[in-house]
Symmetry: C2
């Protein structure tokens, strides 16, 4: 799905110049945005590297403003995110994504298009539904339980838990610092530590 087929074959530059997409998936309230922002802040301050941060809500404003929450629209949203991430990674950049991305196939497609140019690390933020619902920072779960929100992931819409995640983090136990440490201990992310 690259804009136009490139005549340059995907080569493997040294790690420092190799792009990577770190893709956080999980339920609403799982802690995806928090971890993504923490990782971005760490890399920008400790490594002085610029970061592309594609946070679900912001992406829906900029790239997918007309899309809803049907499976087709969710998939298209993830395809657009994958497209932008792959272009960032093509140029050796770091792209951090935080999106519910409930369907395995869409996550797989994003992985494929990114891995044509660099690395892809899927991070399953596997905080339990009970914990996510007890947080309910935006009051969305309460609205979903009252039937005011159709197609709400975890309540009235499916979430296909990844079987291919490089890293699994449960924010129900442990701090953000612990989670960041766990992320940076992974071989694919070690150069960002």
């Amino acid at each position: 799905m690259s804009a136009v087929p490139s005549t340059v074959p995907p080569t493997a530059p040294p790690t420092a110049a190799r792009g990577i997409c770190v893709f956080f998936t999980g339920l609403s309230g799982a802690g995806k945005s928090t971890l993504a922002a923490a990782l971005a802040a760490h890399v920008e301050t400790a490594r002085h590297r610029r970061v592309t941060l594609l946070d679900g809500d912001v992406v829906r404003t900029h790239l997918s403003s007309e899309l809803g929450f049907s499976r087709a629209d969710r998939d298209l949203n993830i395809r657009r995110i994958g497209f932008v991430a792959s272009e960032v990674v093509k140029h050796g950049g770091l792209c951090i994504v935080a999106a519910i991305a409930p369907y395995a196939q869409a996550r797989h497609d994003a992985r494929q298009i990114v891995e044509a140019f660099g690395d892809f690390a899927l991070v399953h933020v596997a905080t339990s539904l009970a914990v996510c619902e007890s947080r309910d920072a935006k009051g969305l779960y309460a609205r979903a339980r009252r039937g005011e929100l159709a197609a709400f992931t975890g309540i009235s819409d499916p979430y296909e838990a990844p079987t291919d995640a490089e890293i699994t983090i449960d924010t129900g136990s442990g701090s953000v610092v612990d989670a960041l440490r766990q992320l940076l201990a992974h071989p694919l992310l070690a150069h960002l530590a």
Copy 2:
């Protein structure tokens, strides 16, 4: 319109690592896609640099599939292109855009968001309407003249000619090689020659 405000200030790395967006604007049939593809091919083969090529038709497939040709939809399409281009440029990449982009304000917005991270060169492919219509490779002008296409730029929809283009090229006179030479002679693009 960056996804999330970066804490890293826009600095000016040396030219080799500095990203640039080369943005071709002009009527349908003016030669934008041809010049954009020629520039991309040159950079990939002569400079061994990867290129993000955002060609109007392809962008509409991937990033803007639900958008039409009203002013609002055209502007949103260019905003999405500007967003992706700015993220590529942020990581030191080269992004080549080919889009009709008929409105000055939308082009200005794209310039602003890109220039926060690198260089922006607007190329006005100023081939005359008469020449574009005589080519009519896709038969679109004929259909527009028959009234079958609403909001067709140059016929039934406005094109605001740029007053701020870094480079102006008329493909009605001169070859693609001439045009490429003219592009690469510009100071902003000299490092790609």
